[in-house]
């Protein structure tokens, strides 16, 4: 009883001290809880499908952020990880009949391997050269896949990949919690010493190297970590939608950057929020409720992205965060913008 009450009070302290002090964290928690119980309120197949795909893309966008947002190594061909994992998972499942719990990790490992392969040559390249070089990888693979249809099933993709679970709701309860867990892991990585090094590499690689950081190793690590998470997303996608050429397309590589930049890069939660705002907006709100004709949704989508970025060039979530929160100059903790002194160290906030 005593032990339990200690844990409860610690739990309570964590919530009041870490989560409820900031409106942003409270909102995030409430939204997560709402989305967790959402299928119980309205098990609408279509909305669940959109939310499942949004969760998959959220993992994918966050993994782009881990690589490009944090280390500044802009990856224009992020679809390579997604596509390789999707094809690996799909082919293993279709040809060998492996179950999803085996194919998704193997697919993710394949994506890590790809991260290593494209990471090593890309270490010599910087900035725009790197961006355009990475753009090439998924397109090269796409060409090869379409040229050997007897192995890869060409244009149409792998004919049949087993679903993740029997029902839509069950799939939702696999994919959505994994998104939260993986997103949390990425956020923790970004918050750790590794994340700090990634920040340093983006800000000034030469200085980072001069401070004794093996930037080569950390950049490779970023490629592999990003590949791992993007690979998990790709494997989930293969088992939920399909594994076809669309998983390697240029548009997917661009789309992930759109989501991430829209939400705000170098935050992890920004890209996740970006996907959860933009993807359902495009798929549900515009077509279902506002009755916008299908051919106009893409136009409106592009306009929304354009307008938002024109006024909030740092991204929507970053902008909101900067409006509602202040960082303590002494202890670097987040505070509500209305406070005049820091909630922990009572230093004066400007």
């Amino acid at each position: 009883m005593n032990v339990l009450s200690t844990y409860l009070s610690r739990f309570y302290k964590f919530f009041t001290g870490e989560i409820f002090v900031l409106p942003s964290r409270t909102t995030a928690l409430l939204l997560c809880l709402f989305l967790l119980i959402f299928p119980l309120i309205s098990p609408n197949d279509f909305i669940l499908r959109v939310l499942i795909i949004a969760s998959i893309y959220a993992i994918f966008a966050a993994s782009w952020d881990l690589l490009s947002g944090f280390t500044g190594q802009i990856n224009f061909g992020h679809a390579i990880f997604f596509g390789v994992a999707a094809y690996t998972a799909g082919l293993l499942n279709y040809n060998l009949g492996l179950a999803p719990w085996a194919t998704i990790p193997i697919g993710a490992l394949a994506a890590v391997l790809v991260g290593l392969i494209i990471g090593i040559p890309c270490l010599r390249l910087r900035g725009t050269y790197l961006a355009f070089a990475t753009l090439a990888f998924p397109l090269i693979l796409l060409g090869i896949i379409q040229a050997i249809p007897n192995i890869t099933y060409g244009e149409l993709g792998i004919p049949r990949v087993d679903p993740l679970a029997g029902s839509r709701v069950a799939t939702y309860y696999i994919v959505f919690p994994s998104m939260i867990v993986l997103g949390f892991i990425m956020w923790k990585i970004a918050d750790s010493k590794i994340g700090l090094v990634f920040h340093a590499i983006r800000e000034d690689e030469v200085t980072a190297r001069a401070s004794g950081i093996n930037t080569t190793r950390y950049k490779l690590l970023a490629f592999c970590l990003s590949g791992l998470f993007a690979g998990i997303a790709g494997g989930l996608y293969a088992h939920f939608v399909n594994a076809g050429p669309s998983t390697l397309e240029l548009l997917l590589s661009f789309q992930v950057i759109i989501w991430a930049v829209f939400g705000g890069i170098a935050t992890i939660y920004g890209p996740i929020a970006g996907v959860f705002i933009l993807y359902p907006l495009q798929k549900i709100v515009l077509t279902r409720y506002l009755g916008v004709p299908a051919e106009l949704t893409m136009l409106i989508f592009a306009f929304i992205v354009l307008i938002v970025l024109l006024f909030m060039p740092q991204g929507l979530i970053t902008w909101l965060r900067d409006k509602t929160e202040k960082i303590c100059p002494r202890c670097k903790l987040q505070n509500v913008a209305t406070r005049s002194e820091c909630r922990v160290c009572t230093a004066e906030l400007d």
């Binding site: 306009f303 354009l306 991204g315």
Partner: protein, 290 residues
């Protein structure tokens, strides 16, 4: 076969060269990666087709009008949109993609998604060394050569050209020397959009037009400018010919070449920059030193 490879290789390399030089110019001067560049080319091709068929204008007049309209569109989109967010590199990428998608969807909505083919500027064919070459192809290649020379002369010989090159070399010092840097960027953007529009006018009669036709040339010119070295016009030109010809060679010679053409061109680009990370004729920019 061989004559086809040479003719198509020259024509497409020329088109890529025009596009890549426009892209390279605005990147060199304003450090803007304008992913909407080939959307201007698509827009011009469609405008020509519709001014000619729907509005019933003369072919030459519609070409002229289309180039003017696209140049103005390009300059305005730079002035009103891109210039405002250009400090944020990744935001610029997204905004220019969004622009390209907006143009694509606007064309799809306005002109429809059916495959159409632009009007021929001239018909007939000429015998060269006993091989019949379509006059349209000759015209394309001639215009490309002329424009490349004109761009070169403009940049090397005129006062404005010198100012543009100075801005590309070092913005701050150029500013201190009394060069109107934002003005130069506007002029460069106009030239860049005009080159893209002319490339569109040259391509319109050669193949089918689709609203998605900007995607493939965009990939190719990104590969071309990286292969040649960012900001180097000579590099863009040579890169365009290397990749243009390799693409055509693969299409004509390799089995299932239509699928593999992009793969091969991109692989060549990757191999070159693995060996020489700054491209063939790359310039190391001021802020990228160190």
């Amino acid at each position: 076969m061989a004559e086809n490879i040479i003719v198509y290789g020259l024509v497409w390399s020329g088109v890529y060269a025009l596009l890549a030089i426009g892209f390279s110019l605005i990147f060199g001067v304003a450090r803007i990666v304008n992913l909407a560049h080939t959307a201007f080319y698509m827009l011009a091709a469609y405008l020509i087709f519709h001014l000619n068929t729907a509005a019933g204008l003369n072919v030459y007049l519609s070409v002229f009008l289309a180039i003017i309209i696209v140049t103005i569109t390009g300059t305005l989109s730079y002035r009103l949109i891109i210039a405002r967010i250009r400090q944020h590199e990744s935001t610029t990428l997204i905004v220019t993609i969004a622009l390209a998608v907006i143009f694509q969807e606007a064309v799809l909505k306005g002109f429809g998604g059916t495959f159409v083919s632009g009007p021929k500027l001239i018909s007939g064919e000429t015998g060269i060394f006993g091989v019949g070459v379509l006059n349209q192809h000759l015209l394309t290649f001639g215009v490309v050569l002329l424009l490349l020379l004109a761009t070169w002369a403009f940049l090397m010989k005129t006062r404005t050209g010198v100012a543009i090159r100075a801005t590309a070399q070092d913005r701050e010092v150029a500013n201190l020397m009394g060069i109107n840097v934002p003005g130069m960027e506007m002029i460069t953007m106009a030239i860049s959009a005009a080159l893209a529009a002319i490339a569109g006018a040259l391509v319109a009669p050669l193949g089918v037009l689709t609203p998605g036709m900007w995607m493939h040339p965009l990939i190719m010119i990104l590969a071309v400018v990286v292969l040649g070295g960012l900001g180097s016009l000579k590099g863009s030109l040579i890169g365009a010919f290397i990749l243009g010809f390799s693409e055509i060679l693969v299409v004509f010679l390799a089995p299932s070449g239509a699928f593999l053409k992009t793969s091969v061109a991109l692989t060549i680009m990757l191999i070159v920059i693995m060996i020489k990370p700054e491209g063939l004729f790359g310039i190391v920019f001021e802020e990228e030193r160190g």
